[in-house]
Symmetry: C2
Subunit: 140 residues, 2 copies
């Protein structure tokens, strides 16, 4: 089956391309907050959780310490988060959101809607896409 290897028959490729292209759409909005996309999804978790250790954060975001350690140091430099050793278990590094980090949430609140609207998907398509993607993530 030769067609197996045609780019147009690959499912991962449009996922990969969509992901990158949508992230590009975030850029102008995230630039105003001085955040990259990866830093933004870290902030999203912190807007929900207030504090979390690196391991749990990585599990939520499918990222490991090799990616998170330098990224979290940058967020700390920007004063959006604090990094503190846990006193209960010194192996754990607790990431805490700062007031400055909390304030970003207000500025960020319209971003999902703004980016979402350029996708031009119907309500049904949005729901279906969402459902299938989480099905894949749960299966992997």
């Amino acid at each position: 089956m030769e067609d197996n290897l045609k780019l147009s028959n690959q499912l991962c490729f449009p996922l990969y391309a969509c992901s990158k292209e949508i992230i590009r759409k975030y850029k102008p909005y995230l630039d105003k907050l001085n955040l990259t996309y990866t830093q933004y999804i870290v902030m999203i978790v912190l807007w929900e959780e207030k504090e979390i250790n690196v391991k749990s954060l990585g599990k939520r975001l499918f990222l490991d310490s090799g990616t998170l350690t330098p990224l979290l140091k940058k967020l700390e430099e920007k004063k959006y988060i604090e990094r503190v050793k846990s006193t209960f278990d010194e192996r754990n590094l607790i990431i805490k959101i700062t007031n400055k980090g909390e304030e970003l949430k207000v500025k960020a609140k319209d971003i999902p809607t703004l980016v979402g609207s350029c996708l031009n998907l119907s309500k049904d398509e949005t729901i279906e896409l969402y459902k299938i993607l989480y099905k894949i993530l749960n299966n992997l």
Copy 2:
């Protein structure tokens, strides 16, 4: 609308995570071919086209010369491709597949099926996902 910024309500995040996790599934198979995922999708285009310039390749794959230039040099080192200046327009660099590159295609032919099967999607879901992703790509 506070919920706007919950991770579970973001559409881009599961796309980003799925893309990365599926690419991870390719790794053991691609390791045997001494290819990374990005190098693999370049080879997929070349298995179809035989030759193409960097600009067109970038358009197909949503990648720019900053990513492609070093990647193509690596594929040349592995003798899977050749890089030749076009004689018609010296600004163009033509990427040609080599015999060694062609031979890889045989070894790669089962990879899409093998990776596809770990997604556990129904036929309908696969088609629907494919359709929505290309709709997004065409809209962007």
